[in-house]
Symmetry: C2
């Protein structure tokens, strides 16, 4: 199973593509960010996000797209703008008939780092560990995307520590879309 | 100039297509609503909105898309969901390289009914008058879409009362997309 995890943002959308094998072992396929030009009109920024996600979908052929849910936005203005970015991402997935799973930030922290109150650094450290990377994915938005993909991998079946330990370390394949 | 005006909503997106001739006379091409199934996941509802707008774009070939801006949402949750719908609409326009204009609700009321504090009924009455319709467009979401299209028509050049009066009345061509 290939999972594309996405952390939506109008300025920077982070993503991570994770493969889960039958035994539960997980490995990183690629991760990166889609950045938009802050001086562009919102409609054009949404197009950049949409086309960036489509590019990743076409390259990595995920079976499912996992997106961070976002009902925690502090104010209506922030939530509205974030909603546009999420809309572009959900559309990219659904226009290709891909199922979409949503996870709250606390669910992601809990699945990857064992507690819903984990810090950003703890999550990044665990992403690195779980995927046997030499360092956490950069930038941090990409790591967030990877954490969301991992959350979906773990949601159906938790890989055993043994299956993780048996796999040899492999380098991260990082890629920046656009 | 053909203008597609859109009043975004997750449940019901209203639209109106208005033609403005050289002399400033305006006429209704069509109007209607795109409804989504409240029991469907958000991603599928966005797809319905996107594909509904694309259908109208392909049928009516507007030169510009005017969308109601929405920084007035009462709470973050409402704003987030509305943002998704607006994102789908802006994408439908920008993926076809169409310019997008945004108008605040008060601007629409002011352009169509002369005051930013006009009631919904006053706006509907003026939409009917300005377009010489036998009755206001129904449902009211469609009338809102028409009002936004009219606002864009009037934004560049206000038609004279003479040019409006010289045109014979014509029936509304209503159409429900989906």
């Amino acid at each position: 199973m290939i999972v594309l995890g996405i952390d939506p943002g109008t300025a920077t959308t982070g993503y991570g593509v994770v493969a889960r094998e039958g035994g539960g072992a997980v490995s990183l396929v690629e991760c990166g960010v889609v950045r938009t030009d802050a001086t562009s009109p919102l409609a054009l920024r949404l197009r950049t996000i949409f086309e960036g996600v489509v590019e990743v979908l076409e390259r990595t052929h995920p079976d499912v797209v996992a997106v961070e849910s976002a009902f925690y936005a502090k104010n209506a203005r922030t939530a509205l703008v974030l909603g546009h970015a999420r809309g572009a991402i959900l559309l990219a997935a659904t226009l290709r008939d891909l199922p979409v799973a949503e996870y709250a930030p606390a669910e992601v922290k809990s699945a990857v780092a064992g507690t819903g109150r984990a810090t950003k650094e703890q999550v990044q450290f665990m992403v690195q560990r779980l995927l046997r990377l030499k360092e956490p994915p950069r930038p941090s938005d990409a790591a967030d995307g990877v954490a969301i993909a991992l959350t979906h991998c773990f949601a159906s079946s938790l890989p055993t520590i043994a299956s993780l330990a048996l796999r040899p370390p492999r380098p991260s394949v990082e890629r920046l879309a656009r």
